[in-house]
Amino acid sequence: MRPASAIARQWDFRVSVTAIACNRRGNWIAATLGDGSVRLLPASDEADAPKLLPLHDGVSLSLQADADDHAFLSGGDDGKAFIIDPELDAPTLLVEHKQQWIDHVASSPEGLRAYSIGKTAHVLNAEGQPHGQPLTHPSSIGGLAFSPNGKRLAASHYNGVSLWWMNAKDSAPSRLEWKGSHLPVLWSPDGKMVVTGMQESALHGWRLSDMAEMQMQGYAAKIHSLAFTARGKYLATSGAEQVICWPFFGGGPWGKAPMTLGGSDGHLVTRVAPHPRDELVAAGYDDGMIILAPLDGRMEVMLQYPLAPQGCAVTGLVWNAAGDCLFAGLENGNLLLFTLASVSRAARGM
């Protein structure tokens, strides 16, 4: 017999969830759907009927917390980028580029917003005006990310990453080079390292102070989801049957084996979400399984068993700022809420 469900609340949107995000303030959740709409709900166990807003004519390709700490930023295949304020009745159009796709968006805590169209990244200031010239790259941009202090923008592409200073207008970028196609890009919380997920199902990283490089391999699939755990201790990653966590302390990741959490027989982790404060990582799988795994070697807690018969992928996983609510979006259109209370209830029943 299966134990009590760890799910506190559940919504069925009947259309695949393509991404979910939490705003910077950590009190609202946005979920973009395969029909181009967005659903918004408070990031707490008070979460009630999600608010529906039409958004893109096609579909959102990138959803992030906005520079406005209350809002979200979304770019889509209709060439539009929107700012979504959960308190307003409609999203605000930021830019429109007809017949093009906005592949990636990013925002900085300092108020800058960036988006990319193919090889070109555009940066806008807090007023929505261009901040410097468009930034061109040798090939299409695979990922965009501002450094934690907002002073630099990283754009990944084929054969490396370009780092642009935001206060030096029209300057050339510094290039981090490594052969191959680089996709998602991530800064360490201290801003000292940059890591990318690659087409070759591997990670590559650079320590900026001395350009020491790191290669992290052994994955079964491309790494779409990577995030540092609380205080930057581990880098948690998707792309394998277990959650692969690379140590970024004690000289690591150089020469260190990763810690592995959870495990599945033949199914892969699609999303990871480190807890904002504690040494815990939530992970979602391509068959719908969701686990919560401590980094201290204790047994993981099963939040959702694989979905029968063939499963469906977890496409979004995010904590609220308080770390007491975890939201999961699935390809089957379900949005799930797990709370500390519902999880401990289920854990006791196990």
């Binding site: 395969g34 579909v59 959102s60 295949d77 017949q99 191959g180 087409q199």
Partner: protein, 350 residues
Amino acid sequence: MTDAKIPVTVLTGYLGAGKTTLLNHILSEPHGKKYAVIVNEFGEIGIDNQLVVGSDEEIFEMNNGCICCTVRGDLIRVIAGLLKRAAGFDGILIETTGLADPAPVAQTFFVDADIAARAKLDSIVTVVDAKHLPLRLRDSREAEEQIAFADTIVLNKTDLVSAEELAQLENDIHAINRFARIVRAERGNAPLEHILGLGGFDLDRILAHTPTFLHDEDEDEHEHHHNHGCGGHCQCGHHHHHHDEPKHERHDPTITSVSLRADKPLDPAKFEDWIGELRATKGNDLLRYKGILDLQGSDQRFVLQGVHMMMDGSNLAPWPADAKRQSRLVFIGRKLDEQALRDGFAACVA
């Protein structure tokens, strides 16, 4: 979710051969289906209500030690974006530039697991201009490669050449690519059943279509005579000339087809060693290959197909009780050493 995979059709062809005309023909036929179209340049697609996406061809080498392993980075990005749409289209059509090498397009569907899970390459359709093909074959390596990779050749603008020239063209095409189906057209008006839904890369379709691409040795003899004029089996509807008539500037092919047959079962281990070695050492020159094998110790027909070093094979169906058990294998490639292939294959007999 677990919907059937989205079929993808690739349209290649030299500049001016009539790709866009064929594309418009496909889109405007009353088939009731909706296609997402990936084009290199906007402009001449005259159909509203279709999802048209512009994309620059970006060829990425995979950093995995396989020299011929290239993929189309732009397709990975665009198809992944298209697949986020919950509803929208029945298939994807990719129009390549005139000089495009079809190999990276095909390999993208082997190499990228995310795409392979949701979309499948249905076939490569190459449009050739009947009037200019002989010239193209003399001066363009790309034109020859596009023919070599094709499942279907649309021989377009047939109204601009004589019946004799047409017959010669078909012979020239078949000398390069033994298993392509040639469809004649005047202004891109090829029947859609020869363009869409072909399953050119499906192993089970290879079984179903055995007779059309794997000729008997005897037929090969006919085929050979064909090449010197217009042999007995052509449908060009005129009386048959002697060898080398009509006068025709012969294309000296660097790409050829070699078809192999064995009437005794093959030793699976020997075959695996041979094909493995061949792929490793000659993979760059092997463009496409397909085969149905009778392996010793198995009652199943083993079906395989490949592009360069990438091969896909499986035991598919039992031999029919009344069928002659026989192994057949066809290679299309550059600088094929026919005798070495024959000897190597013969040595695999158990």
